[in-house]
Amino acid sequence: MENIQHRFGAYIKIHWKTIVFLGVVLITIGLLDQFVDSYIRRLLNLCAIYTIISLGMNLVNGFTGQFSLGQAGFMAVGAYTVAIFTVPIEARATIFYLAPMTPLLANIQLPFIVALLLGGLVSAGFAFLIGGPCLRLRGDYLAIATLGFSEIIRIVFTNTQTITNGALGIKSIPTITSLWWTYGIAIIIIVLMILLINSSYGRAFKSIREDEIAAEAMGVGLFKTKMTSFMIGAFFTGIGGGLFAALLGTVDPKQFYFTLTYNFLLIIVLGGLGSISGTVIASFVVTLGQEWLRFLDEPMAFGLDLPIFRPGLRMVVFSALLMVVVLFYRKGLMGTNELTWDFIGKKIKVIKSKFNRKKSASQGGDNK
């Protein structure tokens, strides 16, 4: 019993501020869900979905130190599972108009939540299959192999006309609009991540990140641990992909081109490889920032008709920002730190002391 408690990090003390904070978050979501229009709602939903997917990626890349670039593929698996199993049966004939859906699947419809979980599980299953060969590889080889698998998944989905409807994609997926779905799941996944990272599994993950050989010497089963992390990461990503499909209402293979993975890479790099709170913050910053930078694409920005402002500039600025982060703020927003109350307290103290020092320094200057 004690062992189990220890494993699952039940020793984490829950600060009263955390409970208050969680309450505030929940109330905010409730209020937003009532009052925001569909555009903001869509953006906020995207933020939550990107948080989920980026957490899945950060678990593997940040916490376990395995540089995997297969995110787009796992997302595709989750998204297609939800799409295939939730599209209304009566709509299937019109959607699969080139070749009918395979009779094995044609009459199965699942409730959204079941399909979503299934998407996560199927995605984890794929991770199991892929992980076997890939996780024995080191560093950049792993990166290119996972990227390769993500592309293979996409190409297979393009060609399996009777299951995925090929290039035509699947539309009429029942959509979710409430913020509770995405944020509810995001919060659950954040909590799961915190528990996981602070458990003995989490320590094993981090030990592999710090030094594989030392970790192995300490008795950490390298392959098994990496596989656990990889599969949990894929599970989260699959769930994220499923929500993504349900948010858009339509999926097609082209959405899951491997460059999609770069979005999440950007998020975890900006947030800090190995920081849950960093990932959450960065998901919001990146998603909202990309939308906010849209003014760069509009020719009349600032009322000046400068030819500099034209479609495409936004992405240039965006990728330049990524380079700035990589080159000058290598640790991202949070490094491997978490936004705990202690962390905030310390930061506030540092700022205060700096402020005081400056104040006294300037006063000192006055006296002279």
């Binding site: 890349n61 950049d140 990166a143 390769g148 297979v156 460059t259 240039v316 380079m323 080159l327």
Partner: protein
Amino acid sequence: MVVGMTLETFLQQLINGLSIGSLYALIAIGYTMVYGILRLINFAHGDIFMMAAYFTYFGIAVFFLPWYVTFFITIVLTILLGVGIERFAYRPLRDAPKTSLLISAIGVSFLLENLATYLFSGKPQAFPNFPLMTNPINFGSLTVQPVSILIPIVTFFIMIGLLFLINHTKVGMAMRAVSVDYDTAKLMGIKINGVISSTFAIGSGLAAVGAILWCMKYPSVLPLMGVVIGLKCFIAAVIGGIGNVKGAVLGGLILGFSEVLMVAFFPALTGYRDAVAFIILIIILLFLPNGLLGKKQVEKV
């Protein structure tokens, strides 16, 4: 579904494979050299290739320079670009974890793609026509474009030249030293930065040559053209054994032939063509992790 194949068709497919394979090989050399020295997958290599295609396009189609001037300028500009990328995006991270370097490479690639889309628009540009190179010649019932013959020849001579450079010159020796042991090479007084810069210069120069030949054969220039080509050529380098010039050429040819032959023998599977490269990659990584011609690497503690 296997098409009853005549000998002609088969020979024609072999020629197709040789020509695309040699192009892969040419670009794979750039990957292999950078990897040999820095242990870095230069994700931006495919995009350097793309920029070279644009330089040539602008030289001939926009500024109406003669082709030889354009080719020269293209090679020079591409080398400057490659060396510049190393200087500003990779060198500052030399002592950082590998992951940072890899992310930086992905970042540069992303930036170049977006920059090209912004500057040159997403529309494809038509690469100028070189009738001498593209007008087909008939050998019996086989039809070949002169450029398809030129490509393997150029690749072959470049490979010979590079092998000479690596094995018989001072720079080459320094390159080999850095590749074997970075720190010791440094202690031995080898100017690491110079060696790395020249590696990037050679790699980028070859990317420029590759781009010119590629565009003669496939005359459209697009901002995202380097992505898939880059990946495939990296895979070619891995197949041959990364860090090995001969390996890169061998890998490029294997990849080119397998793609074309898959299309030839299994026409029903043509939609899966792009997956072939990745499947070969994974098989190679599983059974021959150091590639066909690579040396075994021991991980150091």
